[in-house]
Amino acid sequence: MTKRIEDFTVTGNRFINKDIFLLELQAEGKLADLKPGQFVQVRVDGSPETFLRRPLSIHDADFERNTIKLLVQLAGKGTETLSRLQTGRKLNLIYPLGNSFTIPEQDEKILLIGGGCGVAPLLFLGKHLKSLGHSPEILLGFRNRERMIEYDEYMSIGPVSLATEDGSVGEKGFVTQHSLLAGKRFNRIYCCGPDRMMKAVAQYAFANGISCEVSLENLMACGFGACLCCVVDTVDGNQCTCIDGPVFNINKLKWQNSESA
């Protein structure tokens, strides 16, 4: 998949809760071929503190309108600048970057587990799976009602279950404590969220012999394999999150018996 450097136009930008915003960008021409799990590197101009590009996973892609959506959590100067971008402004992207989620071939019972802003790549993945005839279920976890993100679009993919740490919406507790995991057997889990959550989900998957892929978010400089900064410790040694990932099968990570939430 050829990587491109292109200017996109901001066609939408709004906060969906206190610290997560949804950025919609339109390509100038035809959108490059994208796969669920891939990410873009966004250049943030205007400050010496935003020297590097910001890696953001692709939340959704519309190949007819040639738009992509990025679900972004405020994390510092770079994301703050992005959150203030007005419609019509240009944004320079390097894309598409990284590998993608493995798409199952036959009928499998699939569960998508997302936590916080980590739900981002799962919408694109879920829609793609559904278009291929799969029927994934979705489990989303948030700290509380205020930190929740809208999940209407996920409901068009399949049944959505919710967990919040304070029980203000859905079941109380972490996603790994949700009754969905006690009751049903899934063959395959795709997970993205905070490290602690992904590690806990990985333990559940290991214990139940479920195939599981997680999408990692490491500090990154280039995003295309040139600098070797964003490595993760794998059974094959240090690998780059940007080109060997961001999606990893948990069997590849040294997460067995790792500390869980």
Partner: protein
């Protein structure tokens, strides 16, 4: 169009723009962005005899107008290089240079001997300035005696063009440039990264697993330029300048200070096409100033000073 060709020792470069080691992977990472063969040369990722995993994550921290890294020379070793990387980079129509590293003098020598046999590698860059390894690296390049020893021993076994990459973490850069020249190096390249550190105030701990790392990017440019100017005035061998070059003007400053060629480093990580953009810009600058060749501006400010003093 102005003549852009330069020579480093016996090696001709079609233009003076080279990519810096550690910021250009092994070249192929940039194939999607531009034709790598347009460049004067590329310096590949630091290579060692044995595979190295590098340091633990986190090994990069963004800083104002720059970044710290403590990657620590992760690479798959020379056997892998010969089998998998060498055949691929051999197809580039540019000078492919290997950045040579070791923990001990013997490692550098053995690696240089191996690379001496590779016909499509016309030069090595002897890295005695990596700040991110426990043994070797900068330890060699900040001590005059060990620097001299490693350069001398590598020179004895390596017959092609030998470039010595110098560390800025020294009191007097000219001392190390002179030692390189005295021991038969064809060129010196500088600067490698400046030793620095960053602390995550919120987490109250160092940003890098190694605590310290190497600073690069525009933040270091004035320091790099000063050192290139000093080195160029101290030795007769060509100096390859680098450190924070991001724009055409940055590159021109290095030529005016005395650099025969420039290396583009960290900027390529953010704008992958920086090196070719700069290459085009150098030609335009020379044309607009009415110069017929790049050699006319190399060390220009030094000549100008002589004239006016």
């Amino acid at each position: 169009m102005a003549e852009l060709g330069i020579s480093i020792g016996s090696l001709s470069f079609k233009n003076p723009v080279i990519t810096a080691s550690g910021t250009f992977g092994n070249g192929s990472e940039f194939d999607d962005f531009f034709d790598v063969s347009r460049l004067g040369g590329i310096v590949l990722k630091g290579t060692t005899l044995e595979p190295r995993e590098g340091n633990s994550y986190p090994r990069m921290a963004e800083t104002a107008s720059g970044m710290l890294n403590s990657v620590g020379l992760q690479n798959k070793g020379i056997d892998y290089f010969e089998k998998n990387i060498y055949p691929r980079v051999s197809s580039y129509n540019t000078n492919v240079i290997v950045n040579v590293n070791g923990s001990y003098v013997e490692d550098y020598v053995a690696l240089a001997e191996r690379i001496n046999k590779l016909d499509r590698i016309p030069a090595i860059e002897l890295n005695i300035s990596c700040p991110n390894v426990k043994t070797g690296g900068m330890a060699f390049g900040t001590n005059p005696e060990t620097a001299r020893e490693v350069i001398r021993k590598v020179r004895a076994v390596y017959s092609r063009v030998l470039i010595v990459k110098l560390s800025p973490n020294v009191t007097d850069i000219t001392q190390f440039a002179r030692i390189s020249e005295e021991e038969g190096a064809d060129s010196v390249s500088l600067i490698n990264t400046l030793l620095g550190m960053a602390i995550d105030a919120a987490a109250m701990k160092p940003s890098l697993s190694t605590v310290t790392g190497g600073l690069s990017g525009p933040a270091v440019k004035p320091v790099a330029l000063r050192m290139v100017w000093q080195a160029a005035n101290a030795v007769k061998i060509p100096v390859i300048g680098m450190g924070g070059i991001r724009t055409v003007n940055d590159a021109i400053e290095f030529f005016l200070a005395g650099a025969t060629a420039v290396q583009i480093g960290t900027a390529s990580l953010i704008e992958p096409g920086t090196s070719v953009d700069i290459l085009e810009g150098i030609g335009e600058y020379l044309d607009s100033k009415g110069f017929g060749s790049i050699s006319e501006i190399i060390g220009y400010i030094n000549r100008k000073q002589e004239r006016t003093i």
